[in-house]
Symmetry: D2
Subunit: 115 residues, 4 copies
């Protein structure tokens, strides 16, 4: 999958439907957060173990929600003029510096520490 190609297809999809009027970044980020929550809803009553052992039917539903999140992320980045490849590389670099292997082993990232 090429991200730039996908962004161009989503842009055309919106333009054909005259949806650009709705696609202000403010609105797209709301839609993205809503899709992330719809994805999350599938997991809220599952144990951690169950969440790693979805049935094929559940996995298919979850895949469709993941796609929604991915699509809105690419659409929003395109609308903002953010290059996702550059941003992701930069963030991985930041994370590697922030969480050095030796000091981070077995310690979850920024979070309320378990009691």
């Amino acid at each position: 999958m090429n991200i730039d190609d996908l962004a161009a297809r989503l842009r055309a999809f919106a333009r054909e439907r005259d949806w650009e009027q709705f696609h202000a970044p403010k609105n797209l980020v709301m839609a993205l957060a809503v899709e992330a929550a719809e994805l999350m809803e599938h997991f809220q009553w599952l144990t951690e173990r169950q969440s790693a052992e979805l049935s094929p039917a559940a996995k298919e539903q979850v895949a469709a929600e993941l796609a929604d999140v991915f699509i809105y992320t690419v659409r929003l980045a395109d609308r903002l003029g953010v290059d996702l490849t550059t941003a992701v590389e930069a963030k991985i670099h930041v994370n590697a510096a922030k969480y050095p292997v030796e000091k981070s082993r077995g310690v979850a990232g920024k979070c309320t520490k378990p009691t």
Copy 2:
């Protein structure tokens, strides 16, 4: 950016830090939703117009949050064994059928209709 390569790098990053114990899909989806909200926070008091005209400094912050969302989406899909390329293509197909151009022109997708 190759999604499979990125997934492999993120997998290695987690493994090196012994973070796989934290990366149940249930936990990763929570982290994804949190990152989506952190991204959204940048836009909550902006008008739609302002949201499309971010300053370079704001755009840089937003790019970093977008990267977090992207990274967790790829990591979660990898952890679940979901192929994002397939899922995205399937969803675009579904959306094209659900929102035919003629009937969808100027009408926002699933939403409370404006009054």
Copy 3:
């Protein structure tokens, strides 16, 4: 509405259905975030102005979602042993100190400043 009475009713509702096993704070906070997103979905394609002029039908749907958010907030606080009245009073006190009237006039709280 008395918050303590409501918390007790929600506790009994869960206990009668043997739902306490699902109501770990981790799970309840996911449910709360999901409900907040379902509420938000009603507003994502509306303009700010439209969001203040909901139709009676939309307002009724939104009221039901607001109730879900309220219910999970009270249930989660009860499950954690947090006294909401005390917490709310403390937060209002903090906010009053953080946003003094003179310096805060017309300036949105913590946010990416409009460009």
Copy 4:
């Protein structure tokens, strides 16, 4: 805590700071969803058991986030003209009919069923 009194205090707080211009329902619901996610962030790497055994320090932080969620819920309802007491009573009635005790025992509410 009286909800109507709290709503009136929050209204005055916003008015004194000339914040009503920012408090369109669309913006308030974004802020509410952001606060729900900030609350959730405290729990994302905890096990269900750990989430029920917060340290006093963590509990204090979580209480402050719960207060933010509560405050925005009351503020948004007030801004929309929704009576929370009525909405909550109606929702409890709906839930009691939707989840009869006998059929709901030990079965989580709407969710992807565990596999």
